[in-house]
């Protein structure tokens, strides 16, 4: 009895490592090329970024103070910039800066149910021109037509 139980316990312990694949210890977080500093020290960002973003939301939406330092838009512009092949990661992808950690730590966020998960660069927006594929922005034309720019401008979104 004692021996059987001990063997079972040891067996279970030894089988534990099999549940984890190699290189899975930490998530692979894509870092923005050519930048070495965020708006706050890395340590602070890791622990407090959610509060910065939430505070920014209140300042902007309730008080009308619109700054760029802690704005979600700026996070995305820098952290989810197009990769070398010109593609931009979707929020569901592990290559998306935000999702790389959130999926690892089982943290569900709802930011991108409303906000864009892709940078401001208009080339990576969904094309507003008809007969393109709305869910494959990388396949849409790179140059924006005058009509599209007009639509963006009237929405106050184009720089």
């Amino acid at each position: 009895m004692m021996r059987t139980l001990t063997l079972m316990a040891v067996g279970l312990l030894l089988a534990l490592p099999l549940t984890i694949q190699a290189s899975d210890l930490l998530p692979k977080v894509p870092l923005p090329a050519g930048k070495d500093k965020c708006v706050e020290p890395t340590d602070v960002m890791r622990r407090e970024h959610m509060h910065f973003i939430l505070h920014q939301r209140d300042e902007t939406m309730h008080k009308g103070i619109r700054t760029t330092k802690h704005s979600l838009k700026e996070c995305i512009n820098c952290h989810n910039a197009p990769r070398e092949d010109g593609k931009v990661a979707h929020i569901e992808s592990k290559d998306h800066f935000c999702n790389s950690c959130h999926s690892y730590a089982a943290v569900t966020i709802d930011c991108f149910q409303c906000h864009a998960d892709k940078p401001e660069n208009t080339n990576y927006r969904h094309s507003l021109v008809e007969n393109t594929l709305p869910h494959h922005p990388e396949m849409s034309g790179s140059a924006l037509t005058k009509d599209t720019l007009n639509v963006l401008a009237t929405k106050g979104d184009a720089k």
């Binding site: 009895m1 004692m2 139980l5 001990t6 316990a9 312990l13 534990l16 490592p17 549940t19 984890i20 694949q21 190699a22 290189s23 899975d24 210890l25 930490l26 998530p27 340590d43 890791r46 622990r47 407090e48 950690c101 999926s103 690892y104 730590a105 089982a106 943290v107 569900t108």
Partner: protein, 255 residues
């Protein structure tokens, strides 16, 4: 690895060994302890299936406690159920997203429930602590270890809640550290974060793991070995006799 990480890695391995070996030894001891008499508390089920159902009701709903004392039941059950919810939230630190149970752990519902369950744990523990202080009969039989277990669990809940609601630790690095411990360093080691609350929480949990096999918390495996709860009420259909009792009987018959 940093000195702190090495220290805690060793502590975790020692505590895990003590917990596993200690509990297995205790279960073996319980399983070997003779139950010479047929003493199910009546009304008791008359079939084995019935006993399984009775035991399930006992473990899930604490039915005996409910019949005996409503206040103790509500605080005790609140604490234990919250502990279960908190356990499911904590699985995110020990499992990777490719694990089969991950879709459940990843649910917002499970994570949020586990977070607020911390408050349920604290409420239940404060209630049980109050019971030991304000109920005369219970205060009279309370020993220091009874208070100590409540305070230890309360401190674990409080430090855990503080990390959710007051000051966040670096949970991504924490998970890396835990995964490197579970894989026995096979894929390398990761340093643990140095947040004070986290170190407090982990230290208290290590202490809990070490004293679990020699504490009253052994009621967790022990409940399954209660003769008054795990026996079928069939003394007339089937004679209740233990192996050593049968040996005595046989020796007498031979003489």
């Amino acid at each position: 690895m940093s000195a702190l990480s090495v220290f805690y890695a060793i502590l975790f391995y020692v505590a895990t060994l003590i917990l596993v070996i200690g509990v297995v030894r205790k279960i073996t001891q319980y399983a070997r302890t003779p139950a010479p008499l047929k003493i199910p508390t009546t009304p008791a089920p008359t079939t084995q299936t019935g006993v399984v159902l009775r035991m399930a009701r006992e473990v899930v709903l604490f039915s005996s406690l409910f019949k005996s004392n409503k206040w103790t039941w509500i605080f005790g059950w609140l604490f234990h159920f919250s502990l279960l919810l908190a356990f499911f939230r904590h699985l995110r630190y020990a499992l990777t997203p490719d694990c089969f149970i991950w879709p459940l752990i990843d649910l917002e519902l499970v994570q949020a429930a586990g977070k607020y369950a911390g408050l349920g744990m604290a409420a239940g523990l404060v209630g049980l602590f109050g019971r030991r202080i304000f109920v005369d009969r219970v205060r009279y039989i309370s020993s220091p270890s009874d208070y100590f277990m409540l305070i230890l669990l309360l401190a674990i809940a409080a430090s855990g809640l503080s990390m959710s609601f007051v000051s966040h630790p670096d949970i991504v690095n924490l998970k890396g550290f835990i995964l490197s411990l579970i894989t026995l360093g096979w894929n390398g080691w990761v340093n643990m974060p140095t947040d004070g609350l986290l170190i407090t929480h982990l230290t208290l949990v290590i202490l809990l793991m070490i004293i679990f096999p020699i504490s009253k918390l052994l009621h967790a495996p022990g409940v399954f070995f209660s003769p008054t709860r795990n026996q079928v009420d069939n003394p007339r259909e089937k004679r209740h006799i233990s192996p050593w009792g049968k040996a005595l009987d046989d020796a007498e018959a031979d003489a």
